[in-house]
Symmetry: C2
Subunit: 358 residues, 2 copies
């Protein structure tokens, strides 16, 4: 059986500004542990897919940095999108690339910018999903057992268990958009609702068939592209075809419309690292709840702060619940609970034409 | 008439940590405008005392940096104290040095770490004090008209005006220690109480005579030192004699005991730059009251913060009244009104033996 890891590295998020920038999005940053999120994602998959079997789909602006961060991945396997078109075209492009080698090869499709803390459990879960994708012609999605009533994720509602020997594998009853808090609390209590993780497993051919069925316009574009993949015309073909592809997520465009679906319940430690606030779970807090990415903290009557300061000593006195980030050119300070608003700075800087800071 | 400026640069303050360090005290820092406080002090005096007539008394640990910052001051005029002994020995040492050249020369004695914003008024006031010290055998102290009921300064109570043509020159009624707030409010209302600025003008001989009268032990030490000043034995003599000198301020040890005193009322813009909070008066605030030493500020619902971040953009969201300081190795955050407590970090670091950070 052939297995490929497809890393979706198209993000250009502003939620980690000022650490993340247009030219240095989240997946290229070292936010936790050793190496960038992208490098950690590739390293983590090694037991299933060695670097020679890794495909990265990223934006043109980041392709060179991606290739530089992953010297062990063949350069031809960094596919550069000429413009962002959401995840359905990206996943389809990767499937088309894989299908030229082996249509029955299984693709592990994973975001480049997640943090997984229980790696062997993660690999076990993926193995189970791979077996499922091999055994049946299905699209497998990973659903994470919710740890709190999150309102920032979509949910997958589990249907019936198909094989009592594999209680963690279910049919999919429904997809639900990001809920309000009361709904999220209900989801958490139900035990049947899982966070939509953006991690998928399928055979290349099966995804392409489902795209043909539900997104024929995308399928036509991919068919045109397929002829050029891996040959010198690839870049020109992408530049010509990509702008015409529908901009839609693989969840909305394919999974939610498909009848060939499975969800595998996953329980490995996971974070989508959605904002600075999320780092509070990941950086080691001291006894006063102050967490620093990579430097020491000296706290005097200061609690629950989060600091990324390039290794500097964080001397905190009489402040609590703040996020403070120091980069080469910016000092950011805000309350943790307002972490999502950091994009307002990016908008302000864009308006002022201060592109070097965004 | 010979005139010398004596710059008292013995400070080793911790109130501007982390910008100030043991090896880089406040007077060597650029906190406001161009150049360090010491360099600005020397430059400001040029209309009265050119660099060739400047004497700096500083700690041994800082003598090399002082000399490097003041290349135009003759190296032999940077006098290094082998250990701190407060201001009476420092002022006496300078007077002894000056007296060897001209006992009747006038000394302008000034701290190295003040900020003066109305420089021509400052020079005019000093000129008046110099004339007074030439005309009479008196110790002249400069008293600043209080702008608010400060509890952090000592006060000079004015006595009678001696010459109605010079209403800003008074006898000294009394010296008062740092008052409580109610007392300070009374001082402010009285119109007769001035802040003790630490700026003095006297002839070298007159100060030495007053030291002889009120601090004979110091006078004996200075007599021993005088023989070695300006000759190769100077350093050895200082090392031998200085530890035996009484550690006392020139205010307590001489001025408060002297009968030959005048105070000149001064009204030039002045700050002793006593803490980070004091910089709020000196750095240009934007319309939201956020003040940054040398970088731009981007504020979203953020007011009254004070930032020193090595030229970085300060992006402030939903925070108010904070001090934030970034140096090469430290990020400090605290409420403005707790600026005085910054020394607690220095104490903690000292206890932990982290001398490289203090």
């Amino acid at each position: 059986m052939n297995l490929y890891a497809v890393i979706m590295a198209g993000g250009s998020g502003t939620r980690f500004w000022p650490a993340s920038r247009q030219r240095r999005p989240k997946q290229l940053l070292t936010l936790f542990g050793q190496g960038s999120l992208l490098q950690q994602t590739v390293a983590r998959l090694a037991p299933l897919a060695p670097p020679q079997r890794v495909l990265v789909v990223t934006g043109q602006a980041h392709a060179a940095d991606v290739a530089a961060q992953l010297p062990q991945v063949p350069a031809s396997q960094v596919l550069a999108e000429p413009l962002p078109r959401n995840t359905a075209p990206a996943a389809g492009l990767a499937a088309a690339w894989v299908a030229r080698r082996d249509p029955e090869a299984v693709c592990l499709v994973l975001p480049a910018d997640q943090i997984i803390t229980q790696e062997s459990l993660f690999i076990d879960t993926l193995r189970r999903a791979v077996e499922l994708a091999q055994a049946e012609e299905v699209l497998v999605t990973l659903g994470l057992s919710p740890r709190y009533p999150a309102t920032g994720f979509g949910y997958i509602e589990c249907g019936r268990v198909l094989d009592s020997a594999q209680p963690q594998v279910c049919a999919v009853q429904a997809f639900h958009e990001k809920p309000d808090l009361a709904t999220a609390q209900g989801y958490l209590a139900s035990g049947r609702h899982l966070w939509n993780s953006g991690m998928f497993v399928w055979r290349a051919r099966v995804l392409l068939e489902e795209i043909q069925r539900h997104l024929p316009e995308l399928a036509a574009g991919l068919a045109e592209l397929a002829l050029a993949l891996g040959v010198p015309e690839q870049e020109a073909a992408l530049a010509r075809v990509y702008p015409r592809l529908p901009s839609i997520s693989v969840d909305h465009g394919v999974l939610e419309r498909s009848a060939r679906l499975r969800v595998v319940r996953a329980d490995f430690g996971w974070s989508d690292v959605g904002s600075w606030e999320a780092m509070a779970e990941l950086w080691p807090p001291d006894e006063t709840g102050n967490a620093c990415q990579d430097g020491p903290v000296l706290a005097i009557e200061a609690q629950g702060n989060l600091v990324s300061a390039q290794g500097r000593l964080a001397a905190l006195l009489g402040v609590s619940g703040l996020v403070a980030v120091v980069t080469d050119d910016v000092l950011l300070i805000m309350p943790k609970e307002r972490s999502q608003e950091v994009k307002r700075f990016v908008e302000m800087l864009k308006e002022r034409g201060q592109d070097q800071l965004i």
